[in-house]
Symmetry: C2
Subunit: 211 residues, 2 copies
């Protein structure tokens, strides 16, 4: 939705001088009240202005951009996450690298008895190959980031939170996890999906391509 | 902007039966025309319906989501691109890997005489270290993707196009380039910026965080 030049003038006036009545706004713009009615209706229904009886219009602080934000905030992790690829922590670094190429993923989720134990990135693997290790013998668990230092996300979290974590923690992927409580009371994480910067980029394209 | 239940009903009626007059819509909803006026004004001004004199309302095909798309389509590459990091093609693979860690980037742009010659990804470097090459002797140009196979973007292109290229070409980064014509008529590309999936993820967070 594009605001017209006049609607933007109205928002500016209310921002500066609100609460202000429709009549006062009309005077400032040298227009009659009736001319402004559709604009004021639109701005009020869009949530940009609020009409308070016997007080006048006030600016709610919302803008067109905040309407975009509203749309983004409705999307949940489970709506867009992709299938996770996991490897057991005993797998060799060499086999982990081969899997990374075969599956064409940038980050591997590492499990022990089926529960999340760590993550390993291309960067971790590149470091390992440079370090002169015997990559066909050393298990991947030696070079992974281990729990509880793994950043995770839940299926019901907003996708915005996932994107914020990717940016602020400077990582490429997040395992989507569900908590399972074992018989001994210990809590473990089962990996049910994957959110990456590719997921966010695809979602951005989808939002931008909508006609 | 959220549509109310009644506004959604109106859109549905116009979608099915448009062109249709305000009076006919009111009858269908068992309401009087005046009650619907603010809704019809809002839907028309938001561009979702179009009011044609002596014909009635028609559905434009636009939705709330297409308003989000409009906002996204206004952002240009030059508004959000970051500073590019470039390396000369004669630099060794080993030095390229060290630079990648030092600069903390996932893709390196490779130049010759200051003009774009190729790009090299973490994946390319990981392959090289696995391949048993002497990475301290072999120049990075041996393992890079070379021009004209490098996917690029221009500063004035919409950011949506950049995101589409990242997704469809399955790459992590795009060099932002400007064409320079040499004295001999040859066209070369100068790298002026960088767009990555991180750029898009940051932009997504920014759009989603707007209040």
């Amino acid at each position: 939705m594009e605001l017209t030049k006049r609607q933007e003038q109205i928002v500016e006036i209310v921002k500066q001088e609100g609460p202000i009545t429709g009549r006062q706004i009309a005077e400032k713009l040298s227009l009659i009240r009736a001319t402004l009615r559709p604009d004021l209706t639109l701005l009020t229904m869009a949530g940009i202005l609020e009409a308070r009886p016997r007080v006048g219009y006030i600016f709610t602080g919302k803008t067109i951009n905040s309407l975009v934000a509203q749309r983004i905030n409705k999307i949940k992790v489970k709506d867009v996450c992709s299938f996770p690829f996991v490897l057991d922590e005993q797998v060799s670094i060499y086999d982990a690298i081969v899997s990374m190429f075969m599956e064409d993923v940038g980050t591997l989720f590492i499990t022990k008895n089926g529960y999340l134990e760590g993550v390993v990135s291309r960067k971790d693997l590149l470091k390992a190959t440079m370090g002169g290790m015997d990559v066909s013998k050393v298990p991947v668990m030696v070079v992974m980031t281990k729990m509880p230092n793994v950043v995770t996300i839940n299926p019901d979290d907003p996708i915005l939170l996932a994107a914020q974590k990717l940016v602020s923690r400077e990582i490429d992927a997040l395992p989507v996890v569900e908590v399972k409580t074992l018989a001994n009371g210990e809590e473990k994480l089962r990996v049910t999906g994957r959110i990456t910067k590719t997921t966010i980029t695809k979602l951005f394209v989808e939002l931008g391509e909508t006609r």
